[in-house]
Symmetry: none
Subunit: 155 residues, 2 copies
DNA sequence: GCAAGTCGCGAATATTTATTCAAAAATCGG
DNA sequence: CCGATTTTTGAATAAATATTCGCGACTTGC
């Protein structure tokens, strides 16, 4: 076994942050992140993760995670300095963090302070932060570094 | 046209009331109801109906209708006045929108709400919005989605 | 009427996805 | 550590699904 759990996490992230519509593309994106598996394995993964292939508004096929049954598993809420829930998504070399209204600028300050190892700068709105990643730093790495002072980012 | 509409209704009903997991079975059930079509047509139908193939709790594949937008309807209420001029420019996976001073944050809110299919997050200043696009989404696509609620973006 | 444009469809085919069949790799109970 | 058992996986293949091509039926505008 290699590391199914991490791979599952990567698959979920990819599906949430990009518009993949077939297993081959997904396979490549996984490969970019260091997960080398075959289509057979991916097919099984998608089945276990209950990923659905569906048509989006533009008539293209895309994968979607199945809706977590509402009320089912509440979202984790941990805290940074105050009790804030933070989520992170990636696209290219940019990370986008969402938090509760009003907390973004404070959090951005923390990121500038403590995350400089992976982030070269941030811009914050009311509840959203855009953080530009250093070149050649992986999404996993960013998440890991930020998790050190933003507990709710952890798995 | 024979009776596409009726057939669509039948497909929806079958999917809701039984556990079909492939097009061949579905084809037979349709046949029982008097709809004789080929797999090719059914594949197209499922695409149009936005039917998803997903794994159920028992680990079997089943078709599911896509969730009607959560929170019920009330979706096309708030919109951006056609009078407010908005322009959009792209660079890499980032879209930059300009509008009249003071309108940016309101517009950004709309984009977060309604554009999540293509945008993973926004930050707004006075008259500028930075929106980070999902990976593998084209500029045209972003423009198209945003145009649905920002009339002045249309060409 | 008729040329031009749509639309829905089936047959054939291309593409994508799931499963079968071993074979490693991990796990467990002594 | 060692055999027995379960998991995870890849290669090959089967199965399922999507698309291409073309055709006939229907409009529409002249």
């Amino acid at each position: 076994m290699k590391n199914k759990t991490k791979r599952f996490g990567a698959i979920k992230e990819i599906i949430q942050t990009s518009n993949v519509g077939n297993q081959e593309d997904l396979l490549n994106l996984l490969s970019d992140r260091g997960f080398e598996v075959t289509q057979a394995t991916l097919s099984r993964d998608l089945k276990q993760l209950k990923v659905a292939k569906i048509t989006n508004a533009s008539g293209e096929y895309v994968y979607r995670l199945s809706q977590p049954t509402k009320g089912g598993e509440a979202k984790q809420n941990s805290f940074i300095s105050p009790n804030v829930q933070v989520t992170i998504l990636f696209s290219g070399n940019v990370a986008v963090l969402h938090t509760r209204a009003g907390y973004a600028s404070g959090l951005a300050y923390e990121i500038d302070e403590k995350g400089s190892e992976v982030i070269i700068g941030t811009v914050a709105g009311e509840d959203t932060i855009i953080a530009v990643m250093k070149e050649n730093v992986s999404k996993e790495r960013v998440k890991q570094v930020l998790s050190e002072f933003i507990p709710s980012l952890e798995k």
